[in-house]
Amino acid sequence: MRPADKATSLSRLAAIYDSIGIYLVGLLLLIAGIFVSDEFLTPKNLMSILNAVSLLGIAAAGMAFVTYSGNMADLSIPSIMAFSGIISVAALPLGLAPALVLGVSAGMLIGAMNGFVVGRFNANPILWTLAVAFFMEGFMRFVWSNNQVYPDIEPGTAGAAFINIFRLSIGPVPLIVAVMVLMFVICHLVLTRTRFGIESKLAGSSKAAARTTGINVPRVVLMDFLAAAFFASIAGIFITSMNKLGVFYLGKGYDFKSVTAVVIGGMMLSGGRGNMPGVFGGVLVIGFLANIMTFIGINTFQQNIATGAIFIIVVGLHQYQLRKRGKDYA
């Protein structure tokens, strides 16, 4: 028997968790929710959970590309969200469609810069995107003189349509929930069925091996950061529409929350492992948890403590598993 076959119960647990675990956790929370409140398992409450996590879901879908390709995390996601929102609002006089396109383009410009620097020059992704986030906050506060940017919301204007984006529904399903689900379906197909997805997995598993296999690693990394920025920009437009204003701090907290969703969804920070359904599960679990904790009467700060603790436990479990199998950065 090889050492890897002799997995201890803990690392076997971790392996099972990686394949289906997150949905098991989701199911457990669902059952727990029933005991906590009668209102928990109503369609209305479930839809409101989905609605509440959809911003996070869209951002996390983008973050997943960065994690999957072995670049750990894009910490500039909050600033991309804020920036695309501000640019959209500022461009509203040109009409709704141009404003949205400009907003998303502005966000992707940051993604292109991140991807180029990390891919071509092997910059540390965490430090680089942290620096970009810091720079962008200063930039937005400087250019807009530390002010919030309000759209003109007279009925019939592009501004009114813009703040309506977050509030639209397709039948009983809010638009943002539909967008999130659609995004996850597309992302899943991209990761499993396209060359870009397969090459991201290879680059995430070992950049050096990917290079000698003939994969253009800088280009793959660039595209992964572009994907992250694209989804962050979409989330940014929704959050700006929700708040009816654009301002530098709007995406605050979505960096860590989306990494948490990605990691508890079974993607390893070392790259190359996990899948999009898992990340979607991670997003749902975070939604269930927050909802249940609200029912019990746990406040936001305590909820943050809980989310942080879960992150630490899951990452710890991953590390333990990798060490047991002796292949961490092997």
Binding site: R193, S206, T212, R325, A330
Partner: protein, 503 residues
Amino acid sequence: MISDSDNIGIALKMKGVSKRYPGTLAVDSVDFEARVGEVHALMGENGAGKSTLMKILAGSFNDYTGSIFIGQKKADLHSPASARTHGIGMIYQELSLARPISIAENLLIGRLPRKYGFWLDRKAMVRQASSLCDRVGLCLDPLRTIEEISHHQSQLVEIAKVLGSNPCILVMDEPTSALSREEVGRLFKIIRQLKNRGITIIYISHHLAEVFEIADRVTIMRDGKIIDTKTINEVTPPMVVQMMVGQAIDEFYVQRRPNISDIVLDVHNLTRKGFFHNVSFHARRGEILGVAGLTGAGRTEMVRSMCGLDPIDSGTIEVAGKQLRQHSYSVAMKHGMLYLSEDRKTDGLFLRLSVKQNMVSAIIDRHTRCGIYSSRHENAKTTELIRRLDIITSSASADVSNLSGGNQQKVLLGKWIAADPTILVLDEPSRGVDIKAKMKIHKAIIELADNGRAIVLISSDLPELVGLSDRVVVMRDGHLISEMQKDRLSEESVLLAMNGELG
């Protein structure tokens, strides 16, 4: 004359020392002795057991058998610390220095002088470091960092560091592989000084010329056994080579009748300054072209640059009559020139992915239409390769890191066979692999050649290189110095050519 009963003057005596690895007896009841104040060369092919024997001496194993005497006393060398207290110092090919910190700190690591029990005593540190440097003739400011000094100088720092623990036996494993001619001369001067001070030096090297220049005696190992120990005046280079090679095991290599046709790879005046210069050669369809050379001769550097993985300064590469216009690996791959990396662990395999994912990783492009990847071929391709290469794995979806070294190496080869190369560059294709896997790999290489591929083979395993190659080009110090046809190929002739001793 020193008789057997007279132990005075014997610094080290090993009696019936053996070390077993899973599956092989790496050192097989070896009797070895070294005298006080001699330079004793230890020679043998890769895998002969030299390094294992010296690792035993360094206390790397706690499960060797037999007895070792240092001076007159029996010593148990079961840990590096006990080896050090018995006065054994080791200098490996890879230096053990921390590059960003100063020479002085490197030299005195673990015993830095202190003031008042806590503060670093810089003056004392510089003084002690300087005196250590003096012993190896190094006049450098001890406060400079290792990064700032040359490789040769850092090698001397390494020696000074080992001398700091006052060894009576100093083992040097291939100490000159990264040094220039003059630097080797300077190193030899220091070795002679150490010798005059009564230090015993065990010198491991593949360089015949160096051994004949510096050694007093030479011991030859083969297949884990000592073949003989001779005074250097008693032997000639061809005699030593003969003893290293032994009886060639011809039946191991299948005699084949190569079907060699037109030139498919033509390399002209390839140069990367400081690594290799004006290298020209060609390879034909159906031919296995061996590239021979000592460590540091520039073989790997040359083929990596040829494949576009590393830069070149000048020169041209023609594949199947077409000159490669752009210098990049993806261009080389498009022309069908593939490179099997010498190190499967760092840049060969995706260790955390499955056998299947590794096998198909090089043919993603081929199965992509408009960006959409079709995985339909994967299972059939993988099953075929697993059967063809006899890969032992629980399933195609098992992580490749769970496979044994030999099977990992087969997966790596399978990945490139799947990509259907025109020219396949193999860098150490069977390094660290057991004999059965090796035979399987050789069979696959021969099959590729027989199917009209050109194979460029780098191997430090001489029997492999000689047994497989139809023709061998020899590199030395970054230059291609000679070419040998099949009828002239033998381990002796290649070994002599690698050492620049051409008849």
